[in-house]
Symmetry: C2
Subunit: 335 residues, 2 copies
Amino acid sequence: MNIRVELGGRSYPIRVVRGSLQEAGTFLSLNRRVLIVTDEGVPEKYAKTVAEKCLRPIIVTVPEGEQSKSFSQLEHLCRVMLEKDFTRTDCVVAVGGGVVGDLAGFAAACFMRGVDFYNIPTTVLSQVDSSIGGKTAVNLAGVKNIVGAFYQPKAVLIDPDTLSTLPPRQVSNGLAEALKMAVTFDADLFEIFERGEAMARLDEIIVRSLQIKADVVRQDEKEAGLRKVLNFGHTVGHGIESAAGLHGLYHGECVGLGMLPMCGETLRPRVLAALQKLNLPTKSPVAPEAILAALSHDKKTAGDKITVVYSAAPGAFEMRTLPLADFRRQIADAL
Amino acid sequence: MNIRVELGGRSYPIRVVRGSLQEAGTFLSLNRRVLIVTDEGVPEKYAKTVAEKCLRPIIVTVPEGEQSKSFSQLEHLCRVMLEKDFTRTDCVVAVGGGVVGDLAGFAAACFMRGVDFYNIPTTVLSQVDSSIGGKTAVNLAGVKNIVGAFYQPKAVLIDPDTLSTLPPRQVSNGLAEALKMAVTFDADLFEIFERGEAMARLDEIIVRSLQIKADVVRQDEKEAGLRKVLNFGHTVGHGIESAAGLHGLYHGECVGLGMLPMCGETLRPRVLAALQKLNLPTKSPVAPEAILAALSHDKKTAGDKITVVYSAAPGAFEMRTLPLADFRRQIADAL
């Protein structure tokens, strides 16, 4: 299945095919210097398979986890490219999950003010969501994605076979982002989750999620309006993620929790049931106050009000600007 | 005088008026949080004058010189914005020369993936050239501008009165970049330099240089073709600048030297005379071998050839791809 993100001169193809990692050499232009960025949690064989298709590959393996989305790793990647004499016509390939994609994409955006970037996501979260759309970033002072660039990849290659090495918890974690798209944009996709068919219909979920996201990004690349809807669940989710540091919740798990306070009365129990079917948590390990405190740097706050995405029914959404007190009450009620 | 850089949705105005620093509050939108970035070499009063027009100003003064174009200063500026609760609707203003503009512009490009950026250049070099066009960057491992972004300012405010505090050597240094535009694009402007009228006609030179650059950037924002002509003198110039570290030559002085080997036989003595009229150096303090060695990371090299901008007559240019041996010979002949 091929999907295209239509962005004029920055349009690019997404290929979703089992076994396609082996096609990297034909689908991508790797006959040059290639910085392959992966992390210690990704099976080594994926990056090696890609490296075999490159004229001059250099693999950099960063530590697993959010701490790799840092200024120091960004500088490290740029230094490696400099030392290896990369020019503007060379490229960067991310092989891994969202952390690797965000970091490698930002390095590609900055090095020589932009070299080609390819994304080969190998986790459910990155395959259904983060690998397309061009959001790249690092974290700073504990605040996620606060420094980055909108920088579109030249192509995205998705091989669902790579998901077979993922622990089940990571699969569920990624599906939370697909559930987010179902709740806000696609009632039929939501039914797949409600019926508990998500694991069995993974490839279909990947494709439908990417189609939704590609369509949103086409309409609003820089998140001036519609694209903000993709933050459904993320405002509260980021708050939980920051505050829950020691509780070790994954990003998608936090987003799943974050959706609940932002659902209408009749929708909330349905989303809760869908989360349960995915074995995702439905109770926040942190209190509403801690969530709110962690949100003070959130990009969506302005003064004593907050703008959030709200859904009353599957496939529907609206933007709501709430006083922080109301927002707090909704969190307390739902979590 | 108002000039407009036409770039569709990213178009912006440039205002060149003596005394206009006092108009900052009306020409720019400063009714918000404003990070003002300046350096220790810029008279404090300029940043303070701008700060008086802002709702919530924060002045950050970095050390003078290229060493401030670093990852660590970039991170510092982002941290300050984070600590001061900057949101996507706040902005960054550069008050100073090219170093401050490049650094502050890159910070604005990255913070929250882009906040508004205004440039208020206070040196000849930044007023005639670097403040417009959207090239922002930091240096890494001694290589200039190797990490950065194309990020256009929202407006550029130029007050030639600020030049009165500059030492004469800095004025000449900046005029080298205007001479570069004259040689490649504007025979009439070149005559002003030949007649030794540059100092007396500074405002006119600023406006004409900006008009040339605005026109080039409009046609080729990302330096895919025509914009490369603005690198006239810069290939050899960067080499001298890197190699001459201890000799303390300024950027424009190196660019001036760098033009000589890239001029045709009849043009070279005329450019040499123009450099002398500006009290700019005409002999390189470093040998051709050292210049070539320093060029190995230059963005214009590819294999054993190099692509350079060449001029046979004022107002004319061509791109030439030379074997490195020929390139070396031209440097040895001219410098």
